[in-house]
Symmetry: C2
Subunit: 209 residues, 2 copies
């Protein structure tokens, strides 16, 4: 099997702009990617492909393959899947709460397709045993899309229920989850930049600047 | 073992006010409670205590016990735990995505305490094998509080990772998750009131009124 991580650094995570500058966001997405790669390695995944539009020299220490394609997310993943003759785990780069135990469990299931839903109808992780027969449709209600695609192809399907893997980091309040449940580089970074402010009702993120 | 569900109906879920009137919110919390009770029953939980400040005649068909206490959430739960001589599962009433398989798994663990975190540092489910020795501290960073309390008492602790159980229904965008992953009465209700609007970026809730 291989893992594929779609990745984009330039002006990434614009919805974090209220709490992080562009340079900080670009640093932060790299750290989150490194945490994801770390968990994959810890789970024993040897072959990792980073799907990007440009090679990043800052990542050269990671020992991953770069698959460079200027197409959009769906098109580039679908071209990648088409030529795959082994199972593929597509995992998003903004899942720093991913743990190796979860990766191990997901790739051990017998079903043809495993989907890990994200908040708001997203697909955060997708494990596909026969990738050449499958295609993806990210954005919007991609969770429903991917369930339908598996069904239409008569592929057996498992939905994997995980809070940690449902937590993609898009908005400031998502960083609360990193501070609560994180480890690794993105956790250290968040700890340097923010603290948690607790009121009776909710926990809020406060900048340390 | 017993299950305890803290419950309040009057003017509940004020953060849903942008999309539901007070009467609708009061109906909706009752349906969510019924879905939680259904999952507990399906998991084989026989004794269910509803901790409230008033008895609700509308719930008389549920075959549950009412424990009526005008104190606040923490005080009333702690008084309840003090007199318990059997394991207690505290589960919130706004978790309509709870499934019986999860309940079964949580109550089967050997650890003294099982905590299911909610979004933003909350505690959505808490299973306590020795309740008379434990106390709760909800609100704010209750997840951290409950981890510390277990640790301070030398109780073994398991953190249970579940997206469905992390999803307490507080804000309009949480209803998206009911429409995506729900079943039961709250799902039917949400389907009558809302539909999902999908754009490239995110899924949004639209009122059908």
């Amino acid at each position: 099997m291989r893992a594929a991580i779609p990745y984009k650094q330039e002006n990434a995570k614009s919805r974090l702009a209220p709490v992080l500058t562009q340079t900080e966001r670009e640093q932060f997405v790299e750290l989150m990617l490194r945490d994801v790669v770390y968990s994959l390695r810890e789970a024993g995944v040897k072959d990792i492909d980073i799907l990007t539009t440009a090679e990043y020299s800052s990542l050269s220490d990671l020992d991953v393959n770069f698959v460079i394609d200027p197409s959009d997310l769906n098109e580039s993943i679908n071209k990648y899947l088409e030529r795959m003759d082994q199972p593929v785990l597509i995992i998003m780069a903004d899942l720093p709460l991913a743990r190796s135990e979860q990766v191990k469990e997901i790739i051990s299931f017998e079903e043809d397709v495993v989907i890990v839903p994200g908040k708001g109808g997203g697909t955060n992780v997708l494990f596909i045993r026969e990738p050449a027969e499958f295609h993806v449709r990210y954005y919007g209600m991609s969770f429903c899309n991917h369930c339908s695609i598996a069904k239409d192809m008569n592929h057996s399907l498992r939905i994997y229920d995980s809070f940690l893997l449902s937590t993609d980091i898009d908005e400031p309040h998502d960083i609360v989850e990193i501070l609560m449940h994180g480890r690794g580089l993105s956790f250290e970074y968040a700890q340097k930049k923010f603290e948690l402010e607790s009121s009776r009702a909710r926990v809020k993120l406060t900048s340390l600047r």
